[in-house]
């Protein structure tokens, strides 16, 4: 097994190629995918697999979501690229009312093995229509799975599992991670959906983070370590299914929890995780759960304002310190 140092975007590209090679029913659709998409995630696929399996679609997100779901019901395994997750608003009916519910509504007659790759996240001053983190909308929809890899190995491994899954899986790629490099085994091993990973071990507090916020949490943990606070950083990887046990086991050990995501804090996944912690680990908590996320505002375009919007290590450190000084609150 060869190990190579590759970028997150290349890991996605090679996982796409690997799944297309492994299974003839895998097809790739999206706007400009034959050209590689906006950043090159689908580069070379058209040349390797032909226009029958790599299909440029019209700019018609709603119908194309249904097109992919309809083909999936017939036994194809479409991988649909939604160029920016902001555009998924145009496809909500087909995704939420149809793809997500078809298996249940038909009493199990239909299966929809559909993977939806969507670019998410702020950075670089793209503004409010190309920068959002919208994962919280989808975890509220029974029938959808949602994953958000934080590194190249998980990007490849989760994508492979998503394609092989028999459900619609929303695969969230953070644009700001595209050029991050890490070691990946060439024939990436599928990472099971629904399994968090421990990105850093520590016994003083638990930081649960997702997507690009994992590196922010790790940077914060390094800094905290300098002052003698050892944080455990859990990389969610999957949002649905959520690895409840991994989170709760860590919280029961540390008694302190900080949840970090780039999405708006209010109504975000941090609220769900905080609720879960108090429901199932209340006796172990020694401090109020802290949430770190974006303020309640659209993503600003100005790079300087964007810095205020996106959580950084300092925000995580401050939240961690709040849990440390709140000892005895309860």
């Amino acid at each position: 097994m060869t190990v190579a140092t590759i970028r997150y975007i290349d890991a996605i590209n090679s996982a796409l190629a690997g799944e297309m090679k492994r299974d003839d029913s895998v097809i790739v659709l999206g706007e400009d995918v034959t050209l590689g998409g906006p950043f090159g995630a689908t580069k070379g696929l058209s040349e390797e697999f032909g226009d029958d399996r790599v299909i440029n679609t019209p700019i018609a997100e709603g119908t194309v979501m249904g097109l992919a779901a309809g083909a999936a019901m017939l036994g194809a395994r479409p991988i649909l690229e939604v160029m920016f997750i902001d555009f998924i608003t145009l496809a909500m009916d087909q995704l939420v009312n149809h793809a997500a519910k078809l298996h249940y509504m038909t009493g199990g007659q239909a299966v929809v093995p559909l993977t939806i790759r969507a670019l998410c996240g702020a950075g670089g001053g793209f503004g409010a229509h190309h920068s959002q983190s919208l994962e919280a909308w989808f975890l509220h929809v029974p029938g959808l799975k949602v994953v958000a890899p934080s590194n190249p190995a998980d990007a490849a491994g989760l994508l492979r599992s998503a394609v092989r899954d028999n459900n619609p899986v929303l695969f969230l790629e953070h644009r700001g991670l595209y050029w991050r490099k890490a070691e990946v085994t060439e024939d990436a091993i599928p990472v099971p959906l629904g399994m968090a990973s421990v990105a850093r071990q520590g016994g003083d507090l638990t930081i649960v983070a997702v997507s690009k916020m994992v590196e922010v949490a790790l940077a914060a943990a390094d800094d905290l370590s300098d002052s003698g606070i050892e944080a455990e950083v859990i990389d969610l990887r999957s949002i649905v299914p959520l690895d409840r046990e991994a989170i709760l086991a860590s919280v029961r050990r540390t008694g302190r929890l900080v949840v970090v995501h780039e999405a708006v804090t209010f109504g975000g996944i941090g609220a769900e995780i905080a609720a879960m912690a108090q429901e199932h680990a209340f006796a172990h908590l020694v401090a109020p759960v802290q949430r770190v996320g974006a303020p309640f505002a659209p993503v600003p375009a100005s790079v300087e304002l964007e810095k205020i919007f996106v959580p950084g290590p300092d925000d995580v450190i401050a939240a961690a310190r709040r849990t440390m000084t709140a000892e005895g609150v309860r």
Partner: protein, 339 residues
Amino acid sequence: MLPDLRPDLLVEYLRRMLVIRRFEEGLIKLAEGRDIGHFHVYIGQESTGVPALALLEDGDLTFTTHRNHGHLLARGVDPAAMYAEILGKATGTNGGKGGTLHLASAEHGFPTTSAVTGGCIPLATGAAFGFSRLGRDRVSVCLMGDGALEEGAWHESANIAAMESLPIIFLCENNSLEALGQKANEYPSSTMAASPLTELAAVFGMESVAIDGADSGVVHDTMAAAVVKARSGDGPIFIEARTVRWPGNRPLWPQLLTGETDLTMAWDESAIPEEHGRWHRAEDGLLAYIRGLLAAGYVDERTVTDIDAGVREKMSAGVQFALDSPYPDPEAALSGVFG
């Protein structure tokens, strides 16, 4: 005009039309005093659905809309399982988890019903896309009402179907003639600037035709040509089948305003009541079909009433089966969220 088919097949079409008519009439009675949700009946459109869908083969798919009962029955779905589904019973087509608005029967070519106006158009187009990519010579039929043309999904799907030359037939049943509303008695009654509605397909370079949906012969001929065209890879077609809205569809819930259809009205003028006389004389495609069969000498009055009696018996048994069937186990509410 009757379809140019063997008399025994034409009599079989009559039986299917009666299955639909009696199923819907039975349902309206069954629904009285029961919470089965909002439902829509196919009365008055049997002369479109039966000849059109009879031309499909195994593996051809039909995606349908809220007015779906007639479509499933036309392709042979068991009426008892449909009654059971509508009552939310475990023996229903979807195990009670779909209801009237989401009836599905994969083995009869019904992957799902969408209750969102235009909701099935992208899925039907996707199935056609799947047939085309997977190299299967099957046809996808998108059954829709005229209101679905107001949705963006129509325009996006029509564009893709035409560009990719997909094997899909958009069968738009416009039952809105005489519909209520500000545009009653006008054409089209949809909230639509385009007229005729066929323009909405023609603009994409798609073959597009409007027919009289009450004329089973025209429906047969048009659909037969469409199936051949789609199956041979010559691309999509849009068919607007115009029918007159059944008076009982006017209230929020359908009501038997014209009573249980008295088939003697097909051959005995004195049986036609004054109220809704025009409907019975000129607009009901089922009665027109029976008159056609009688005129051609393919059936006599006795044959018609015998077939009808058999159908009614089957519908009564179906209702009883549904009433006697158990509700799903409570665990079923939480199972099957994921596949």
